[in-house]
């Protein structure tokens, strides 16, 4: 190329580069901004994904079962022998399905399903609340899922759990098993006839099954037991042998057919009871699309947890 043209091109390029570099700065800023927004979006997405992931294992129920009054009910004599080998305890746990009633909302339960469905279908309702006409919106109540299951616990009357079994004695597994049977089998040492021993060397524990029910109870009066192995006495720990299992585990979704959610009272000033009365009166009337009302509850201030039952 001719030097002149080169120069011209060079200058042009420089000029353009100059313009571009000015735009570049602005553009770089723009790109940075978008990059930042994207990173923020990523973070929110990751949080939501983790939350939803956890939601599948969401039904963690940690229940502290309160002290209850246990009362004698009856004496039975079942055919099944195995029922005499354990104290068996069973109970049902059901999560309570509820709706958090926010300020300005009310729940109304009708006697008849058709009435409730009709009120929802009508959607908007003009209701007189202490002289003021307020527009309320009727909708179905969004209810969460619940879970229900039975817990069964069997405490054995013939088995005990033995732990802290010495393992430094150089005895092979088989022999230690026999020593345990011998040690727990002597009635003059507090034991009784042993049916079987399941010994796990690794965890230094065992389950000893006795022939007669009384022996386990006697041994378990204390937390430890003197186990004699070759003339030397070792204190091992004893505790009840229990088995726990769940039955009839089911996740269910609560669905309300006769209760309706009313919203639109955020600005209402009167007290809750008065509003509940007005709502009750309004929705009792057939000409308002209502019918027989069972219960009304509203919140005009702090939220309430409203329980839904079968």
């Amino acid at each position: 190329m001719e030097p002149d043209k080169d120069n011209k091109n060079q200058v042009l390029k420089e000029q353009q580069l100059d313009e571009e570099s000015m735009n570049d700065d602005q553009n770089e800023e723009l790109l940075d901004e978008i990059r930042k927004e994207n990173i923020q979006l990523q973070e929110v997405i990751q949080k939501l994904e983790a939350e939803l992931d956890g939601a599948t294992k969401d039904f963690q129920i940690k229940e502290d079962i309160p002290e209850t009054q246990i009362k004698f009910s009856s004496l039975e004599n079942p055919e099944n022998d195995s029922q005499f080998l354990n104290i068996s305890c069973s109970f049902q746990v059901s999560s309570q399905v509820s709706y958090e009633l926010q300020k300005g909302q009310a729940l109304i339960t009708f006697e008849k399903e058709e009435v409730a469905q009709n009120v929802i279908k009508m959607g908007k309702h003009q209701v007189q609340l202490e002289g003021e006409s307020v527009e309320l919106t009727a909708e179905p109540v969004p209810l969460s899922t619940g879970v229900r299951f039975q817990v069964h616990v069997d405490v054995s009357k013939v088995k005990i759990t033995v732990t802290e079994i010495p393992d430094g004695l150089g005895l092979p597994e088989d022999q230690m098993r026999d020593k345990l049977e011998l040690g727990f089998g002597k009635s003059r040492r507090g034991g009784g006839e042993v049916e079987s021993v399941a010994y796990d060397k690794q965890s230094r524990s065992a389950v000893v099954t006795f022939v007669e029910p009384g022996v386990a109870d006697r041994i378990l009066k204390k937390k430890d037991f003197p186990l004699y192995i070759n003339q030397s006495c070792h204190r091992v720990l004893v505790s009840p042998y229990t088995e726990r299992r769940l039955q009839k585990y089911q996740i269910f979704s609560g669905v309300s057919k006769r209760t309706v959610l009313l919203t639109g009272m955020e600005h209402v000033r009167t007290d809750e009871e008065t509003v509940e009365d007005f709502i009750n009166i309004h929705f009792q009337l057939g000409r308002n699309g209502g019918g027989e009302v069972e219960v009304v509850k509203c919140s005009l201030g702090q939220p309430y947890r409203a329980y839904f039952e079968e």
């Binding site: 978008i34 992931d53 939601a55 940690k62 005499f84 049902q92 059901s94 309570q96 996740i251 409203a306």
Partner: protein, 327 residues
Amino acid sequence: MEPKPALGTLSSALSALLEDQARLKKRLRELQQLKREARVTPKLKVRGQMVPFPVPEVPLEFRGRTEQAQEAARSVVSKLRICCPLPGGSALVTFDDPKVAKQVLRQELHQVALEECRLRVRVRPLELPVVPGVQVASAASRKHVLVSGLPAGLALPEEALLDKLELFFGKARHGGGDVDTRELLTGGAVLGFADEGVAQHLCQVGQFQVPLGGQQVPLRVTPYMNGVIQEAKVSTLRQLPALLQSSRAPPCLSLLLRLQFPPQIRWQPVPCSVLVLGIPDVLDGPELRDVLEVHFQKPTCGGGEVAAVAVVPPGERGLAVFTLGSG
């Protein structure tokens, strides 16, 4: 004119970033929608996708029971039933008033008056195991399926219905296999299979026509979320010797272990009842019951109003059933 490389890079960088953003925003909207739905219907993660799975609907209504919203909704424990074997030669005496039971227990030995002689018996409180707490998590089970769509008016007793379902889904020609477990829940049945593959296959097929009560009933098969009791984490006992050595005043061994092993059960005495032991073989059941009732109503032994007497004569056995008392 060919775009200058610098400008080209810039605009392509820009459009790439904007595409990213559009994709991210779309994903965010999806997740927000899923979150709204997850509150209402549970979802299962199948091959990385959140898939809704049907759960039975239980109709519930608001009956007026409310609470301050700060409290987390508690679960309800109901239908408590404890069955305790009683040995031969024993009896369980239940009083109206727990204070009376306490008074009676002050003496360990009681002399029960008969016409010609006296029975010497021992009394003790009866302690029953109570579960102090339980932690349960649910996880999709690979071996179970939920069979739903059972018609409401089926005139089949529970066992017969489960038999029919096991018969149908136990057959290879229906796509099934050996059934290990079966349970009837509200609105559905849970079947557990020996072979995971069978469970997965049945879920994939999804719809079946099953003969029940003389007709072909359309049933749906879906995955089942099973509950698992979370065992308390227990550190190995090997750490104990080190713990004992490290502390200056070695704590009591049993106390340490109680901390390491949170109790799965707690022993609670039955407040209104006393266990009577060592009853000799001199009277038959009904007579023994009467004699004990008379004795334990006497103020001289600390007794009072007796609500019930359950006897297990020597040589026999009985199962005492306890339930939740009112109040």
